[in-house]
Amino acid sequence: MQKLFSPYLKSIGSPDAKAVSRISKPLRRLSAQHLVEFILFFPFFLAVLGILMDFSMALYSNYKFNLALHQSINMISMENKLQSDVTEIADRIKNTTRASMKNSKAIYADTVETGIVFMGDMTAVTASYNYITAFTLVNAFFPALPEKFFFKTAIIVNDAILRPNYYSITNSDLEYIFSTLSQEDEPEPTTPQTPESGEGGA
């Protein structure tokens, strides 16, 4: 600061040059203090920001993972599954979940694995998902973040959703076969009117 102003002040020979010099010393100290404080604060700020971002991304990805699994099971349940087996249906759930996650920009979608647990009448579609944390630098000072988040979820569905279906008669065949049987509603039996029941009954 002093160097900056001195040549100018000298050149004009002003008596205020000393005064400016006196003021510039504390200003210089103050600037240095800001710098030191900023350097001290910045790593904390970065660490907190990193942890926040990682946790937020993990939570968001977990939400998307659950949503994607629900969507794939819904989709599979609406399919007719006429030419399928259970293993193929399970694979389709996994692939659809991964695709749905990728579509919604959730990362590490390829770590999704699915399984099917048969428990009598009901079936549980289980799924796991790994979110690998990115900002692990902070763990050198403070173990705040795990190396990865392991998310697991289960959706209990009716066994029927995952079973292949067997239907053998086409619509036209069925209609042709039963065309010989009349399906018209038979007329309601009419009750014979007696003179007593009529309006003009005596």
């Binding site: 939570l59 008669i169 086409t170 399906q183």
Partner: protein, 261 residues
């Protein structure tokens, strides 16, 4: 000069207070997010238990371990169940369940809050669905019926002897299967158009998961979208005698407000 010193002290104090507050708020926010996530999981598990238990009760089966098994699949201990009530009212089975679970905190534990106790309540009931526009020989559309391995899936009442077919959408239009062999009454073999079908002469209920001995894959009917009933008065000496054709889906379960239990 004095003013500058005072300013320096102010900056240091403000920074430290701001930093501490900032970190505490961030920690609190993150822990809250995790607690909310756990609460969501607990509610989902509780609703599943309620639905599964109501479905079991509807089929007449009793499995005391069912709620614990369902919770364990969701990664929750069986001890999470605090209350479990059932009752039968107006032709419906009703179930209400309350669960509790401690949710561990990541950061708040340093402030002395190691866990937060979460609670969830859910109720479910069974009900019967009667599709509209029921006519002989026409496809009756259902709110897709999922068969289960317990109890009856649907019932048919008819004035005349009849045949019942279950249907599903496919690329080649609707596909059908004769499900007469899954009725809970005696059936008669009748030939129609050179093929043999099961004629039924009584009002009957059908359990689609039951296998038919004479048919391969006959237990492979998981989802049914349509029911079709053909009448054949000539098949029976004594007609079932109902006033009209009525198909009812029996195995429906839905969530209800716990206050309506």
């Amino acid at each position: 000069m004095r003013r500058l010193k005072v300013l320096k002290a102010n900056i240091a104090v403000t920074t430290s207070v701001f930093l501490a507050t900032f970190i505490v708020f961030c920690a609190f926010g993150l822990d809250t997010a995790f607690v909310v996530l756990d609460r969501f999981k607990l509610q989902k598990a509780t609703e599943t238990v309620a639905l599964a238990s109501a479905a079991y009760l509807n089929s007449g089966a009793v499995d005391p371990n069912l709620p614990s098994e369902v919770l364990q699949i969701h990664g929750l201990p069986a001890a999470s169940i605090k209350t479990f009530e059932t009752k039968y009212e107006d032709g419906s089975h009703k179930v209400r369940i309350t669960t509790e679970m401690p949710a561990e905190t990541y950061f708040l534990r340093f402030a002395g809050v190691g866990y937060v106790v979460l609670k969830a309540t859910s109720a479910a009931k069974t009900f019967t669905q009667t599709p509209e526009n029921q006519k002989f020989g026409e496809a009756i559309e259902l709110n897709p019926l999922l068969t289960d391995k317990r109890g009856e899936d649907f019932s048919v009442e008819s004035p005349y002897g009849y045949y019942v077919f279950a249907g599903i959408d496919s690329d080649a239009g609707i596909m059908w299967e004769d499900v007469g062999c899954k009725a809970n009454v005696t059936t008669t073999d009748r030939t129609v158009g050179l093929k043999e079908f099961k004629a039924i002469c009584e009002n009957a209920s059908f359990d689609l998961s039951q296998p038919c001995d004479y048919k391969p894959y006959s237990d492979s009917i998981g989802v049914v979208k349509y029911i079709r009933v053909y009448k054949d008065p000539d098949a029976c000496l004594v007609q079932p005698g109902a006033s009209k054709l009525e198909v009812k889906v029996l195995n429906n379960v839905r969530l209800i407000n716990p206050k309506d239990f």
